[in-house]
């Protein structure tokens, strides 16, 4: 019999990521999802350029959270639901590798797909540069916010995909959760919640502590650049990402119980 070697955690995650990345493009669904998202984001921003006559990406970053409510669950439901449905979860979970490495590899592939969407909006930045002198640092912060928010919502979608064998159930649960976590940061929702329980400050509390939209807006709409105001919201979104990835790992392992 052969001697028994183990693939290190990082190499495992990387190999899983490469497999999942290739598998994603095996069907037209990934192409279609990415193309629709790129189209929606570019159309919104171009509309702002030409109709409002403003040389900025504000419209793109304003639209992105709502696009992500649909896009993140659409991509994230791939993380585990399909494996439960096709029974390949049994294949994954009997390989001599850590469940965490499998989940991380699958998640990184999803993050790569989402990054493709963001890359698809870069022609807008080139267009801005040709038409004038855009604030590139602010735009970079916007993209950082877009990446961090997308990473968190993908982790949430991935977590729900470990709980549902039906991709549709995973999609609906993730979309609902993403919508709530974003909506809680909306000023109107905060005001309504504050009004429901006067004096409690519930809406403001949830908006500041729980909502993801606040952290994203802090990054995207900051009037000037400084490291603290850039890193804090990124860390907040990263914490949410790690929390839900941990949940996804537990959810995937739960299938063994």
């Amino acid at each position: 019999m052969a001697e028994h070697k183990r693939l290190p955690f990082v190499q495992t995650a990387w190999a899983v990521c490469a497999r999942e990345w290739n598998a994603a493009f095996d069907s037209a669904l990934a192409w279609l999802t990415i193309a629709l998202a790129v189209l929606a984001l570019n159309a919104t921003a171009l509309n702002e350029f030409f109709l409002a006559g403003r040389l900025e990406l504000r419209a793109l970053f304003e639209t992105l959270p709502m696009v992500l409510v649909v896009l993140a669950p659409a991509l994230g439901m791939r993380l585990w639901s399909e494996d439960l449905r096709q029974r390949t979860a049994e294949l994954w979970l009997t390989l001599p590798v850590r469940t965490g490495a499998i989940v991380l590899g699958k998640y990184l592939a999803l993050l790569g797909l989402y990054t493709l969407v963001l890359v698809g909006t870069l022609p807008l930045v080139i267009l801005l540069c040709q038409l004038g002198d855009p604030p590139l640092l602010a735009i970079a912060r916007g993209y950082l916010g877009a990446l961090a928010l997308g990473a968190a919502l993908l982790a949430i979608a991935g977590f729900f995909s470990t709980l549902h064998a039906e991709a549709l159930s995973a999609f609906v649960s993730a979309a609902f959760t993403a919508f709530v976590l974003l909506a809680l940061g909306d000023a109107r929702v905060m005001a309504i919640l504050d009004g429901l329980l006067p004096g409690s400050g519930l809406g403001s509390l949830l908006g500041e502590r729980v909502a993801l939209l606040g952290a994203y807006q802090e990054l995207v709409y900051a009037p000037s650049f400084d490291w603290i105001s850039t890193l804090l919201p990124v860390l907040r979104l990263l914490l949410v990402t790690l929390l839900f990835l941990w949940g996804a790992q537990r959810g995937a392992a739960r299938n063994r119980a």
Binding site: K5, R6, R19, L95, V97, R256, A257
Partner: protein, 247 residues
């Protein structure tokens, strides 16, 4: 090589496996027999570490499957009941990926893949996508995947499912060829297959182990009673209070 001691597993209050114990030594091919729903797949899933037992202890090559599931997995090859495979991958890519997950380097992967392709006659489909392969080829791909790590323990859940008689015969010869030094446990609900392939039979019924005997002894007993092996097994089940009638 495989040691099972007092293993229990329940689903929603129903005992799928109730207090099963047995040991399988290297070089043995053991057939796991039982009607549908007897608990064969549940027990194999626990052996493969996919499920954890509620009580009892399982050792694979001396490693406790609950304490060190990764260590146990590294020493076993497993072909699950429905033979799940990565459908969109080409057969070569799929097997290479599975070998990579087992920690094999590029050279070892090439060597093992070549060997598996030769032993199991997969050369013709290596460039095909898994979903394009016939049932017979899919079973062979699953078996190749289980053997890539050169495991000390091989667990096969219904490996003959969907195979034609010639393929069953080829599988039997193949298992005999790879059995030296390896503990092989395979499940089936077809007695003739179990008798033909295995040197020992485990009979599981309603989660309990009713019988654990060498195939030759069983055949002798059946002959002594003037009945065939099938009738003998039916008697064992009926004596244990089980029904073998439809409905």
């Amino acid at each position: 090589m495989i040691r099972v001691e007092g293993v229990h597993k329940s689903y929603a209050g129903t005992h799928a496996v109730a207090g099963v114990s047995f040991t399988i030594q290297p070089g043995e091919i053991v057939g796991f027999l039982g009607p549908n729903g007897a608990g064969k797949s549940t027990l194999l899933r626990m052996l493969s570490t996919y499920l954890e037992p509620d009580a009892g202890r399982i050792e694979i090559a001396g490693i406790d499957t609950v304490r060190d599931p990764l260590g146990a997995r590294a020493r076993l090859g497993y072909l699950p009941e429905h033979n799940p495979l990565f459908e969109g991958m080409r057969v070569r890519e799929c097997l290479e990926f599975l070998a990579h997950m087992r920690g094999l380097n590029r050279e070892e992967r090439e060597q093992r893949l070549g060997l598996a392709a030769e032993q199991l006659g997969l050369a013709a489909v290596l460039q095909k996508r898994v979903r394009e392969c016939s049932k017979g080829y899919r079973q062979r791909i699953g078996l190749a995947g289980a053997l890539l790590g050169d495991p000390a323990v091989l667990l096969l859940d219904e490996p003959t499912h969907g195979l034609d008689p010639l393929q069953v015969l080829a599988l039997r010869e193949f298992l005999h060829g790879i059995s030296p030094g390896r503990a092989i446990l395979f499940s089936s609900h077809i007695l003739a297959e179990v008798a033909a392939i295995s040197s020992r039979v485990l009979l599981l019924h309603q989660g309990r182990l009713l019988l654990d005997e060498p195939t030759a002894t069983l055949e002798q007993r059946a002959r002594a009673e003037g009945i065939n092996l099938e009738q003998h097994i039916v008697r064992v089940i009926e004596r244990a209070g089980g029904s073998t009638r439809l409905g």
